[in-house]
């Protein structure tokens, strides 16, 4: 029983938190700018490399280094939007998808040129899991950080979307850009705010993934499919749907390796990333609007 919790459920929740933060940006850009942003994973990866550089330069703790990296990546994202996405605002959205596809490879190869392709740890040493609840639950400190930091960021996003002017404007544009424009909402400002939130949450997800595993140039691409699956599962344009979707997919991926029948893992762990794809395809067949009745664009 505790083995199940410690080795399958908790890692699933940790992974789910990372997916949730990543999917948040996907669902916001998909809902507000109305295109699937393939470069989202690479923005996450780039921000993580910036955080890694802060760790090297100033000896910061990775979670602290994430803050300036988030700010820098958000600024960079605004520049990228201006250069590669803004020219296509009035064009059919599929052109923006192609542009994001090109941007995906440009960011990745730029990182590979600058930082090289060798995987690197962001957190030195190995953390021993600590015993909680009289030794029933084993939890490494880094996993506690990841869970707590995700909760804090979710709370901040919730406040942003429900209590601030710009957050309400973002939701209005997601619901109907035409109506939002008619009521005088500055759509370009909303788009900039969306990129800032998307970039910041992506970098948070990337740094947490790096703390859990390591920094590598393919981490963004590997995250892309689970993030899209989480966004679709929750319903496009539904931030809390994306969070729920991320958690479901993270937990499902880890639980798929549990020996439910007999002693062998139910699914060969090599196929873990197929779970996200299977869930996504199932949602597209049965309920493309997602669990939380998002938009089917």
């Amino acid at each position: 029983m505790w083995e199940f919790v410690n080795f399958y459920l908790i890692p699933g929740l940790v992974l789910g938190c990372i997916y949730a933060l990543g999917a948040l940006g996907i669902t916001l850009t998909f809902g507000i700018l109305r295109f699937a942003n393939f470069a989202h994973g690479e923005v996450m990866m780039l921000g993580t490399y910036l955080a890694l550089t802060m760790v090297w330069l100033f000896g910061l703790h990775p979670l602290l280094a994430a803050l300036p990296a988030m700010a820098l990546t958000a600024l960079l994202m605004l520049g990228l939007d201006r250069a590669f996405f803004r020219p296509f605002r009035s064009a059919p959205t599929i052109i923006s998808v192609i542009a994001s596809f090109g941007l995906m490879l440009m960011i990745r190869s730029a990182v590979q040129v600058i930082w090289g392709t060798q995987p690197r740890p962001i957190l030195p040493g190995v953390q021993r899991p600590q015993a909680w609840l009289d030794g029933a639950i084993l939890l490494a400190p880094k996993h506690v950080w990841i869970l707590l930091a995700t909760l804090a960021i979710m709370a901040a996003i919730h406040l942003l979307l429900t209590r601030t002017r710009i957050g309400k404007a973002m939701r209005a544009v997601a619901d109907s850009p035409e109506l939002a424009r008619l009521t005088g909402i500055p759509v370009e400002t909303v788009i900039r705010a969306t990129w800032v939130v998307a970039a910041a949450t992506a970098v948070a997800a990337g740094v947490m993934l790096a703390i859990d595993t390591q920094v590598e140039t393919m981490m963004g691409f590997k995250m892309l499919l689970p993030m899209f699956a989480a966004a679709i599962l929750g319903g496009i344009g539904r931030p809390f749907g994306a969070v729920a979707g991320g958690l479901v997919i993270g937990v499902a991926e880890e639980l798929s390796a549990y020996p439910w029948l007999g002693t062998a893992p139910l699914l060969n762990p090599a196929y873990k990333s197929g779970i996200a794809f299977a869930i996504m395809v199932a949602m597209l067949v049965w309920r493309p609007s997602g669990l939380f009745r998002g938009r089917v664009l």
């Binding site: 730029a110 040129v113 090289g116 493309p288």
Partner: protein
């Protein structure tokens, strides 16, 4: 004489691989140029073509599935059918939704196929891949085997080109572009939008498998990482958009042109020293970094073409109506 022989061999390899990319680009043109469908998983269909053909034509080997000893043509036909079946399944689910979903699903299916090829070791020899794949005409003496294979590839390109030109001018092709340009209008005219789109997607994916089948034969080796998305999917997209989407001649031109540039820059990066010093800072692993810089630049080419020259080198021309050719006016994109 030896030098000329070397140039000759290089020219043959350029035309052979360029021709394979032309097959892929024509397949993508059918999907994107004709029907406006976004396929981000070209590498997946390409790999299916290479693997299925290799397994069906190779003599029995202990490392992987094989020993069927099928002749080349039926093996390639089976490979194309397998790719078509995968495309049909994914198309059935996604084509009725907006094109973004097809893009996500195709990138997903390419990833899943790579996982399967990597992990089902009994069938595919896992990460080590399949080697000594039989190639058509390899029993001929030295330059003639390469020449004959090149001729086979180029004739295939020509046949596909002629067939697509015919399709483009046919009622079928007109319905396709009508759907691409205005789905609602085509639906109002009583056309089965989903069925037409599915046909374009399935046929295009089968062509991509054909390109992969030739590629596996040509390199005589195919592994799960031979079809990494950077070199196949992306390059084919740049070839089509730069050459001119919805123009079959543009697709072929783009494929040969981009492949010549791509393989030319590969030679240049091979000349670079292992380490150079820039403003007093030593930069190690120069050739590796230069290889990634190449991908960056091809990405930049895509962005520039997309923003400034969205019609490509050879823009789309409407099939002759009443004996007149109509060139479409400038626009950043199409399909709503």
């Amino acid at each position: 004489m030896d030098q000329f022989y070397g140039y000759g061999i290089y020219a043959i390899s350029l035309l052979t691989v360029g021709g394979m990319y032309a097959i892929l680009t024509l397949g993508l043109n059918l999907q994107w140029g004709f029907a406006g469908l976004f396929n981000a998983g070209i590498a997946g269909f390409f790999a299916v073509g290479a693997y299925v053909t290799a397994i069906l034509t190779k003599p029995e080997a202990p490392e992987h599935l094989g020993g069927y000893g099928l002749p080349m043509a039926p093996a390639i036909a089976v490979a194309m059918l397998v790719a078509a079946a995968i495309a049909w399944a994914i198309g059935r689910i996604c084509i009725r939704l907006r094109s973004d979903y097809l893009a996500i699903a195709t990138i997903g299916i390419a990833e899943i196929l790579r996982l399967i090829l990597k992990n089902e070791t009994w069938a595919t020899n896992g990460p080590r891949g399949i080697s000594s794949i039989p190639r058509a005409f390899e029993y001929l003496p030295d330059p003639w085997d390469k020449l004959a294979f090149m001729a086979l590839v180029l004739v295939t390109v020509l046949v596909i080109y002629l067939a697509l030109e015919k399709a483009w001018r046919s009622p079928w092709g007109r319905v396709m572009t009508a759907i691409r340009d205005s789905e609602d209008a085509a639906r109002a005219a009583g056309k089965d939008v989903e069925s037409f789109r599915l046909q374009a997607f399935v046929l295009g994916s089968a062509l991509m498998a054909l390109g992969g089948a030739y590629y596996g034969q040509y390199t005589k080796y195919f592994g799960p990482d031979s079809s990494d998305p950077a070199s196949v999917t992306f390059l084919v997209w740049v070839m089509l958009i730069a050459g001119g989407s919805a123009n079959n001649r543009g697709a072929v031109l783009g494929a040969f042109l981009l492949w010549t540039i791509w393989s030319g820059t590969q030679i240049v990066t091979g000349w670079l020293p292992r380490e150079i010093s820039l403003f007093g800072v030593a930069i190690p692993d120069v050739p590796v970094r230069a290889a990634y810089l190449r991908i960056f630049l091809i990405g930049l080419v895509l962005q520039v073409v997309l923003q400034r020259y969205s019609k490509g080198i050879l823009p789309e021309t409407r099939p002759a109506v009443l004996g007149r050719r109509i060139t479409r006016g400038p626009e950043p994109g199409r399909q709503g």
